[in-house]
């Protein structure tokens, strides 16, 4: 059995087509595009490129904030210190684990919520969408505190309400063990960001042509077959974009860990490691090097999504 998608060729000519044979109209549209996007692009460069370059420069120095006079150039020594330290690799492992688990669960849950939003009665839709979006509107630190209080051994309700679940007892210290702490961190992250992924998937669902669904129905396809053979293949671009955005976001997890465990019991993420070196330890050089390595990880993730999984950001916009 094959999947069903619309044939290519209906797309408008992309503005970024080769110069050769470009029409006057396309040229003027391109110019307008630059004029409209240019200022925002310049601001982005200023607020992102400048700190990245600054951090890259600082990472080549042995520089403590309270001792600027003894700042000295050390080349790539900071990178060597980081990459030969087991703590770095442990943090990479924790970060990758949290990223994989949260993004996978969020994708499934987010897809379910997007379907609910699409299928809901017209009158219910606005209320439903608002209700689903509420967690995303909550500040991460507030959400982390809320989840921490819920699972706290003294003040939390989880230990008294859920003792019927295997592994949950009145004296379960959720933050006293690595894996239970990571579980609560993941739950908080999933609750907070599933609405984001469901919004992106909702946009993808809206793009699936109704005509294909009807054709499949006429051909006798079951609901399940329509989902796997029609809906999902037609929103692949939206799924990949949602995955890319959330993976990049999840890899930089910080707030929830900071509030819940402060990095205790092996729950330190890479961002947390950067914070500890730069802000707590005041070693600007070493901390900048951790930040640069984190940046390179994020670039690698984005690159692999775009090149290996062939994510087409333009297609996700419906061009």
């Amino acid at each position: 059995m094959t999947t069903t998608t619309l044939p290519p060729g209906k797309k408008t000519e992309p503005v970024s087509a080769p110069d050769k044979g470009i029409t006057d109209r396309a040229r003027s549209e391109r110019k307008l595009g630059w004029l409209l996007a240019g200022p925002a692009f310049a601001v982005m460069l200023l607020v992102t490129a400048y700190p990245i370059l600054q951090a890259t420069y600082e990472s080549l120095f042995d520089y403590r904030l309270t001792d600027p006079e003894n700042r000295s150039f050390v080349g790539l020594t900071n990178y060597w210190v980081i990459l030969t330290d087991s703590l770095w690799w442990e943090s990479i492992g924790v970060t990758a684990f949290i990223t994989l688990v949260t993004v996978a669960v969020e994708l499934v849950l987010g897809f379910g919520l997007a379907l609910v939003m699409v299928k809901a009665l017209r009158a219910l839709r606005p209320v439903l969408r608002a209700a689903i979006l509420i967690p995303y509107a909550v500040i991460t630190v507030v959400s982390a505190f809320a989840w921490q209080f819920a699972f706290d051994i003294n003040s939390g309700f989880v230990n008294s309400w859920f003792t019927w679940l295997p592994g949950v007892a009145a004296d379960t210290d959720w933050f006293g063990d690595r894996w239970t702490a990571i579980l609560v961190i993941c739950l908080a992250e999933i609750w907070k960001t599933t609405p984001f992924i469901s919004l992106l998937l909702l946009a993808g669902l809206a793009q699936v042509p109704e005509v294909l669904q009807e054709a499949a129905k006429v051909d006798g396809a079951t609901r399940w077959q329509r989902m796997w053979r029609v809906t999902i293949p037609n929103m692949k671009a939206a799924i990949m974009v949602a995955l890319l955005f959330r993976t990049l976001d999840a890899f930089r997890v910080f707030d929830t860990i900071f509030i819940m465990t402060n990095g205790a019991n092996g729950t330190e993420s890479v961002s947390f490691l950067a914070y500890r070196q730069t802000i707590a330890r005041l070693e600007i050089g070493l901390g900048s090097a951790v930040s640069v390595l984190l940046f390179l990880c994020v670039v690698a993730i984005a690159f692999s999504f775009i090149k290996l999984f062939k994510v087409d950001l333009a297609q996700a916009r419906g061009e």
């Binding site: 051994i153 003294n154 210290d173 402060n262 330890r281």
Partner: protein, 453 residues
């Protein structure tokens, strides 16, 4: 250093508006708003303070005591200065981070700051504290407990003003000690209280969470065992700092830590227990013993007043000197509290020191002790009848302060403390034979910038 009378405070500077901006065409609403703000500012500038210099005091969160003291000193200055308070983050480590980042950027809005003693050497070494005038130094160290003076000193020089001096005592339930047959008039050891708690099915509360409080506990244990975390501070070269973790005293401290954490009396959440949660343990039905700061007592009285606790609970409370590690060695309880630093970039350091002297006056320390539960550094306050009425255990606190041992004095305290937290957490997982050696290796490598933290 000269100071400018009438220097505008942060609020005043923030609301300065250029005339040109107000004249912008087509913005009548903005212009009206600007005028309102300016008018409001002018009204705020006038009134009682007149031409008073505005001093900003960065305070740690408390029950409102420091804001009240600021108001009292403003009034007492008779218009020469006003003290405005700015709130720092909740925990000591975050307070340090915020102050250091501001001071590294030469922030002149910091006139006075409430500093946690172990971070004072770092501030002083970096040149972030204005020198204490000799006459001020003499006045503020008279009749002050030794540990508070020591905590304000770096490189044999007083660099901060002792304000309030905290110490941990052994809080216990009188009924539990009696049931266990423990004579609390005599010094007790950790073994004795753990045994008593196990016999009576109650809790021994300490701070096992991976936080600064763990270092506080470990420091008290190693000092009580006759050792020290740092044996040679080497202020010039951090890589040469000598540690006393891999010693007999370090091993003994680790043994006691493990014994407490592994005992039935430690409770399920020992590895995430901090000052607040261990105080909650003492308040609970299973409450037995808790090494903690004096706030435990007013906290319980407050709960009774709020109707959330039975009055019989705090009536059952009593305090004794911190437990000993070894029977024949006196305990070295933790020393904490807050000392006042004057910002090196303050435009009014002389006025700031004048204000600091007002803040630490005996009357204000007594007020702070009685209302906020923060013990005074001035010894005379402990004879104040009002203090003795509010804190019947004040003499124990005073004695504890005399015995207290400060945490390591070094500009690299953060590295040492976080290194200890990483190595000795969870407390039940420590190995008396190996942890000291591993912690020494880690901290040495971190100080030599060869390891991450």
């Amino acid at each position: 250093m000269p100071y400018a009378a009438g220097r505008p405070g942060p609020e005043k500077r923030a609301t300065t508006i250029r005339p040109a901006a107000r004249r912008t065409r087509g913005r009548p609403v903005a212009a009206a708003a600007s005028l309102l703000v300016t008018a409001g500012t002018l009204v705020a500038c006038g009134g009682d303070s007149g031409g008073a210099s505005s001093l900003t005091w960065y305070i740690n969160p408390d029950a409102g005591g420091q804001a009240e003291i600021a108001a009292r000193c403003t009034e007492a200055s008779e218009g020469r200065y006003t003290i405005e308070t700015a709130l720092l983050p909740r925990d000591a480590a975050s307070q340090r981070e915020q102050l250091i980042r501001r001071l590294a950027a030469n922030d002149d809005s910091i006139d006075l700051m409430s500093l946690d003693p172990p971070f004072i050497p770092e501030f002083a070494q970096a040149g972030f504290l204005a020198p204490v005038p000799e006459d001020v130094a003499q006045r503020v160290t008279e009749d002050v407990v030794e540990s508070a003076v020591e905590g304000s000193t770096w490189d044999d020089e007083l660099v901060a003003i002792p304000f309030w001096a905290n110490t941990q005592v052994l809080w216990y339930r009188k009924s539990v000690a009696e049931a266990a047959g423990l004579d609390m008039e005599e010094p007790v050891t950790w073994e004795q209280i753990v045994q008593a708690a196990e016999e009576t099915g109650t809790l021994v509360g300490a701070q096992g969470a991976r936080a600064e409080s763990l270092t506080v506990w470990f420091n008290a244990l190693i000092e009580s065992a006759g050792g020290s975390i740092i044996t040679d501070a080497s202020p010039e070269d951090p890589a040469q700092i000598e540690l006393g973790l891999d010693t007999e005293a370090g091993q003994r401290a680790t043994e006691v830590m493990k014994m407490v954490a592994e005992s039935e009396a430690a409770g399920a959440a020992f590895s995430t227990s901090n000052e607040d949660s261990s105080a909650t343990g003492l308040e609970s039905e299973n409450g037995g013993f808790n090494v903690n700061y004096p706030f435990v007592y007013p906290r319980a009285l407050g709960a009774v007043e709020a109707g959330t606790m039975d009055a019989s609970v705090p009536e059952d409370y009593a305090a004794a000197i911190y437990p000993r590690v070894d029977e024949d060695e006196p305990a070295a309880p933790p020393y904490g509290g807050i000392n006042l630093g004057v910002g090196a970039f303050s435009e009014s350091p002389e006025l700031a020191y004048e204000a600091a002297e007002c803040i630490v006056s005996d009357e204000n320390q007594a007020y702070y002790f009685v209302t906020n539960g923060n013990p005074a550094s001035a010894t005379s306050v402990y004879d104040d009848p009002e203090v003795l009425e509010a804190f019947p255990m004040a003499p124990v606190i005073r004695e504890s302060l005399e015995l207290a041992a400060p945490r390591p004095q070094t500009p690299y305290y953060n590295e040492i403390s976080v290194g200890i937290q990483r190595s000795y957490h969870p407390p039940s997982g420590v190995d008396p034979g190996r942890t000291g050696e591993r912690a020494t290796e880690l901290i040495k490598a971190v100080l030599a910038k060869e390891d991450l933290l």
